[in-house]
């Protein structure tokens, strides 16, 4: 199995305060991995490090054959301005940025693909709605439709099911499953261990340092979880470093 992504002694943090410490792990190509851990364990920070929004304080993230265009990243919802006067189709179409860039036209085949992505997420008929009028679930479907268009081979999702209704979660899980079957590498930060157990074959448990990484049933044990909690509490510094925005 080839490696899509390797964390090599990776240390990430803000203001030289580490939120992820000396992480060593290989993410296999085509794997479907959940990233779990207590609050402040550095889960979101890890994804930011992968997309390059944060430079490593130490070590590095090694990509196999991937370039930036092959990576799609969905951060937590709060980072988008939903009051901005933009229609659903405009936001979704930006998933084609690699093809159209700042000037490319959106017509013909491209428009058809945008429509298909909207349809796949059950958003047909919402094309011209302002993004501000969507419900939490519809917002997340919109962002997933954009992800679909990005045609990436590595997909990073940060808490994709927070404040999303059950039926939307089902749709999104289906899509993630389909990505997995198509051979894409998916790395998802999640809180709900039940979802992880039923849908994610691999789990990486983080408590600023690596707690465990491997098949979900071997990682998500009560022993590992209490160890992770202890490790996070034992850490120096403020507990919620991950939640801080990057200036």
């Amino acid at each position: 199995m080839r490696t899509a992504l390797a964390f090599e002694n990776l240390t990430l943090g803000y203001d030289s305060q580490a939120a992820v410490n000396n992480l060593e792990a290989d993410i296999a190509e085509g794997s479907l991995t959940a990233v779990v851990g207590p609050n402040g364990a550095g889960k979101s920070t890890l994804l930011r490090g992968v997309v390059g929004a944060l430079s490593p304080l130490e070590g590095r993230v090694a990509f196999g054959t991937l370039s930036r265009d092959d990576i799609a990243y969905l951060p937590q919802q709060s980072e988008i301005d939903w009051t901005f006067p933009l229609s659903v189709i405009d936001l979704v179409a930006m998933g084609l940025w690699h093809e159209i860039g700042p000037f490319g036209q959106l017509e013909g085949d491209r428009l058809a693909r945008v429509e298909a992505a909207l349809a796949a997420m059950g958003l047909t008929g919402f094309e011209n709605r302002p993004i501000g009028s969507l419900s939490g679930g519809q917002m997340q479907r919109t962002l997933f439709a954009r992800l679909l268009l990005q045609d990436a081979s590595l997909i990073l999702l940060d808490e994709p099911f927070t404040s999303v209704d059950a039926s939307t979660i089902a749709v999104l899980l289906d899509l993630i499953q389909r990505w997995h079957e198509e051979g894409l590498t998916v790395l998802t930060v999640l809180h709900d261990h039940e979802t992880v157990r039923t849908h994610f074959p691999k789990t990486l448990m983080l408590a600023r340092e690596l707690v465990a990484h491997g098949p979900t049933e071997q990682v998500l044990t009560a022993e590992n979880q209490s160890r992770a909690l202890e490790m996070c509490e034992a850490c120096d510094g403020p507990p919620h470093v991950c939640g801080r925005s990057v200036a």
């Binding site: 990243y73 901005f84 933009l86 930006m94 700042p102």
Partner: protein
């Protein structure tokens, strides 16, 4: 009607020049103002307007009331404050609003100091409140050039700029244009403020940028609509303001901005997109 509305423009060349200058400023500055508002940076415009002052003042010191010197000085000072504030935000703990506030206050104090130690009070008033009734040919050419450049740049950067406003993280994850877009936009703000400063003065120029944009928010919900309504209301404010200043012998800069303010007030009350009056009109609830 003819006498009140058209006569002043027909009879006096300076009124026609003032009108052309104000329309140029309206068309160039208000789209920039719409984006400032949408990025929740309305006060940044204010800060940058004050930041321009010392540059213009130094230009004035060196060359007197010279269009070129004051323009170049203003642009340099405005850009310097925008860049310094951005730099301080990126490398220290201070957030952008605070660092910008710090720099523009220093800049404003410096500007007022320079103008008042070396010039007369009349000069200070000119710099602060503009000389729209005394625009010469070169000033008009400058205003129109800045407006054209500004519209062209907005057209080129439109897509990245919208993304930079709505979802900056996404833009950063798919392209390298984020920083360029941000600073190009700030440069546009500075340029348009310098243009506005020749007509309306440093303190008033930001008014024609922000007030029509804020008013437009109550009439339109798409970006195109916002820009259209904003430009229209800025031009309306310019014409009415100039007429008011002519008939009642008022300073023209503040008159124009006050009319823009009145349009804003009317918009808050009667605007169809979230205006206050809507709340008091009983609407029948749709029952399903």
């Amino acid at each position: 009607m003819w006498d009140i509305v058209f006569q002043p423009f027909v009879e006096f060349g300076f009124m026609r020049r003032a009108l052309l200058g104000c329309v140029a400023i309206s068309v160039g500055a208000t789209p920039v103002g719409v984006f400032l508002m949408l990025r929740r940076m309305s006060l940044t415009g204010d800060a940058l307007a004050c930041a321009i002052l010392p540059g213009a003042a130094i230009g004035y010191l060196i060359a007197g009331f010279s269009l070129g010197a004051m323009t170049i000085g203003g642009v340099i000072a405005g850009m310097a404050v925008a860049l310094l504030a951005g730099l301080v935000t990126r490398i220290t703990v201070l957030r952008e609003d605070a660092s910008l506030a710090a720099f523009y206050l220093i800049s404003l104090a410096l500007g007022v100091l320079i103008v008042s130690t070396r010039g007369s009070n009349v000069d200070l008033m000119h710099v602060l409140f503009g000389t729209v009734l005394a625009l010469d040919d070169s000033a008009l050419i400058l205003l129109c050039s800045i407006t054209s450049l500004s519209l062209l740049t907005l057209a080129v950067f439109f897509r990245p700029l919208v993304l930079e406003c709505a979802d900056p993280h996404f833009l950063r994850s798919v392209s390298n244009l984020s920083a360029i877009t941000h600073f190009t936009f700030l440069a546009l703000v500075v340029l348009n403020l310098v243009a506005g400063f020749h007509g309306l003065g440093t303190l008033m120029s930001v008014g024609i940028m922000i007030l029509p944009a804020a008013a437009a928010r109550f009439w339109a919900s798409g970006i195109g609509g916002l820009v259209f309504v904003a430009i229209l209301s800025a031009i309306l404010a310019s014409i009415s303001g100039l007429l008011l200043s002519y008939h009642f012998n008022l300073p023209s800069g503040p008159a124009i901005i006050l009319v823009a303010g009145i349009i804003y007030g009317i918009s808050i009350i009667f605007g169809p997109v979230g205006g206050l009056a809507l709340r008091f009109i009983p609407r029948r609830q749709l029952e399903t």
